[in-house]
């Protein structure tokens, strides 16, 4: 069973962390992952940096740009991760834009992920229908879970459809917004969280965008299986460096 599905079965709220691979330093990737696991994080999204990350806010953009300047490429990342399963056992998800995967070759990319021990992919700009028609078979062949996003504007029919073709979790965007933009959740968002929770989807939901501290983490996980923190963690990495990850996670999980 895929590590993601296993993790989702655990009877706890899940903390998932996103970071851009190759930031702050090119070779920080593995140590960040190991540190995150060590400090109680349940799942990790490893961002494959892209030159034109149009669904990302300024913090993630800047970290991607820095990572690319540092020399990050798809090959470099795969190389850094080649022994990751010797030390890390939590689910690892690669998150990135579709073009670099396309250039690598989608099948080659998926195969490589399987070889390394990647459990799933999040590709914001790969549309559900294209995936369904052209790539689903390949992803499944290599045991990869593809994670889809929903937003407050996603229609009920579409949520149901996405639920039907998902086999891991649904990435629930807290508000229709690029990452890192809101602070704290208002009534509109909690209503939306409730609305989705009440749909009793077959896939659990993990909420992302706008989770930055223990309070927003608690608010989100009141309704969902877990939550993903991205920008807030990258800001921490930027100011505190790789060695003090426990300072960050302990604040969230206290």
């Amino acid at each position: 069973m895929n590590r993601i599905n296993q993790k989702l079965k655990e009877n706890k709220k899940l903390l998932s962390i996103y970071f851009s691979a190759g930031f702050p330093k090119l070779d920080d990737t593995v140590s960040i992952i190991e540190n995150l696991e060590k400090n109680g994080v349940d799942m990790i999204e490893i961002g494959l940096p892209f030159s034109d990350p149009l669904a990302d806010g300024p913090t993630i953009q800047a970290s991607s740009t820095q990572a690319l300047k540092n020399g990050m490429t798809t090959n470099v990342l795969f190389n850094q991760l080649k022994d990751i399963r010797k030390t890390v056992s939590i689910p690892l998800i690669l998150m990135g834009y579709f073009n670099p995967m396309l250039q690598y070759g989608v099948e080659a990319f998926c195969k490589k992920c399987q070889d390394i021990g990647i459990d799933g992919l999040i590709i914001p700009d790969l549309p559900v229908d294209v995936y369904n028609e052209k790539y689903k078979a390949i992803f499944e062949k290599y045991g990869l879970i593809n994670v889809f996003l929903i937003t407050p504007q996603t229609s009920v029919e579409r949520i149901n459809f996405i639920d039907s073709i998902s086999n891991g979790f649904i990435y629930m965007v807290s508000s229709a917004s690029v990452t890192g933009s809101s602070s704290g959740f208002g009534e509109a968002q909690t209503n939306y969280f409730k609305r989705i929770a009440d749909m009793n989807l077959k896939n659990p939901q993990i909420i992302g965008f706008g989770i930055s501290d223990s309070e927003t983490f608690k608010q989100a996980t009141k309704y969902a299986k877990g939550a993903i923190i991205g920008s807030a963690f990258i800001k921490h990495l930027k100011s505190e460096g790789v060695t003090k990850i426990n300072n960050f996670t302990s604040l969230i999980l206290r």
């Binding site: 030159s51 806010g57 740009t65 073009n99 670099p100 700009d125 549309p127 929903i150």
Partner: protein, 393 residues
């Protein structure tokens, strides 16, 4: 329909809507409605009326006597430079603002490179009393200052894009981010035949008025509605799409697409997408784009802000791949020289974008009785400083 879009939103292998879920409702709303709305009589009437009385259409098809003599062929200039705001871009923004109104939108965003699309968008927003935000690369803000001033006069907010190459590509990223953040009341007026389906098709249809007019204008002047050649510059590809539109399926009409070679196709400072690009995804569309082996989008370069874009629209990717259109690259210097030549021979100062198309006459020989229609996509008022500095006039 070999060269036009299919019902899935693709031109051959190219097109589609590679967009994050956050954009899905807006893009889908547009996809479901655009053809229906465009066919409504009230839409058509308002669109045509504004094109006529506000934009000043039809734009003339001008027989360029002295240019023709110099190159020993029959050259007609399609005078999009005479449109209100000075380029073809307004054809599309008029269409899209009417579309946005019918979809109940209240707030308009746009990206711009040369500033022509930004001005055209600011213009229609003023006309309709709608809020307008235009994203523009910091470098383009500097090199197209007159257009920045115009947008301000028209009440638009111009927001600088500070990332990447600080040009059109990055302005587009910022506009998309804005749309993601404002999913309900905002319409994004894309300025070329790029972006996710249905944008390339919708923009091409709004620009199609160009070749529609060329047909009857040529009929009047030459007794036949088809030219031997249609030449247009390609940034995203909207003026070319408009000039080609009604000739796409008629292979007797040779299509020539002109890209910006910057300081030379192989100089590392270029925007010649067809020569340098590979298939990939940019701004929501599968098309040709300049990129590293790794799939990172390359920062383009051209002296012309409107052609300084690392991709082309999916229609053009298809025209290239199928060989339907001939693609030519023109350097900064060649374009500037061709632009000055038009000033001196015909008294028309072309946009530097259009000067790229004009440079074809220095590259390629036409027969004396060939009818060559060139899309003069815009006027050069925005480019005076660049010309003057280049030639030290």
């Amino acid at each position: 329909m070999k060269y036009n879009i299919n019902n899935k939103g693709y031109y051959g292998d190219f097109g589609g809507a590679y967009i994050p879920e956050m954009l899905y409702p807006n893009v889908e709303e547009l996809r479901l409605n655009y053809l229906k709305v465009m066919q409504e009589p009230s839409f058509k009437e308002e669109f045509n009326q504004l094109l006529k009385d506000y934009v000043g259409r039809p734009s003339p098809l001008y027989f360029a006597k002295r240019l023709s003599k110099k190159y020993n062929t029959k050259i007609y200039l399609k005078r999009e430079d005479l449109n209100h705001t000075g380029a073809h871009k307004i054809n599309n923004t008029i269409g899209q603002i009417l579309m946005a109104q019918r979809l109940g939108k209240k707030r308009i965003i746009a990206e711009t490179g040369a500033g022509q699309h930004g001005v055209a968008t600011a213009t229609v927003c003023a006309l309709m009393g709608m809020e307008c935000i235009v994203y523009m690369g910091e470098i383009d803000i500097a090199r197209q200052a007159p257009n920045v001033a115009r947008m301000k006069m028209l009440g638009a907010k111009v927001v600088p894009a500070l990332s990447g190459s600080k040009t059109l590509k990055d302005a587009t990223n910022e506009a998309i981010r804005d749309w993601i953040n404002n999913p309900v009341d905002t319409h994004y007026i894309i300025g070329s035949v790029v972006g996710p389906h249905p944008y390339p098709d919708m923009v091409a249809r709004f620009q199609a008025v160009v070749s529609e007019e060329i047909q009857w204008q040529l009929q009047e002047k030459e007794g036949k509605s088809t030219p031997d050649y249609v030449i247009a510059c390609v940034g995203g590809g909207s003026n070319a799409a408009g000039a080609y539109y009604h000739y796409l399926e008629n292979t007797n009409v040779n299509l020539i697409a002109v890209e910006a070679a910057g300081k030379g196709v192989n100089s590392g400072k270029s925007a010649a997408t067809s020569a340098l690009g590979k298939e990939g995804i940019i701004h929501g569309s599968k098309t040709l784009l300049m990129q590293t082996n790794d799939g990172q989008i390359t920062e383009p370069y051209s002296i012309s802000a409107g052609l300084d874009y690392p991709g082309v629209g999916p229609m053009h990717a298809h025209l290239f791949k199928t060989g339907r259109a001939e693609f030519v690259s023109v350097t900064d210097d060649q374009a500037m020289t061709a632009g000055l030549e038009l000033c001196e021979l015909e008294g028309i100062i072309p946009a530097i974008e259009s000067s790229h198309a004009l440079a074809v006459f220095g590259h390629k020989t036409f027969k004396p009785d060939d009818i060559v229609v060139l899309s003069l996509s815009g006027r050069g008022d925005k480019d005076l400083d660049t010309y003057i500095n280049h030639f030290k006039l």
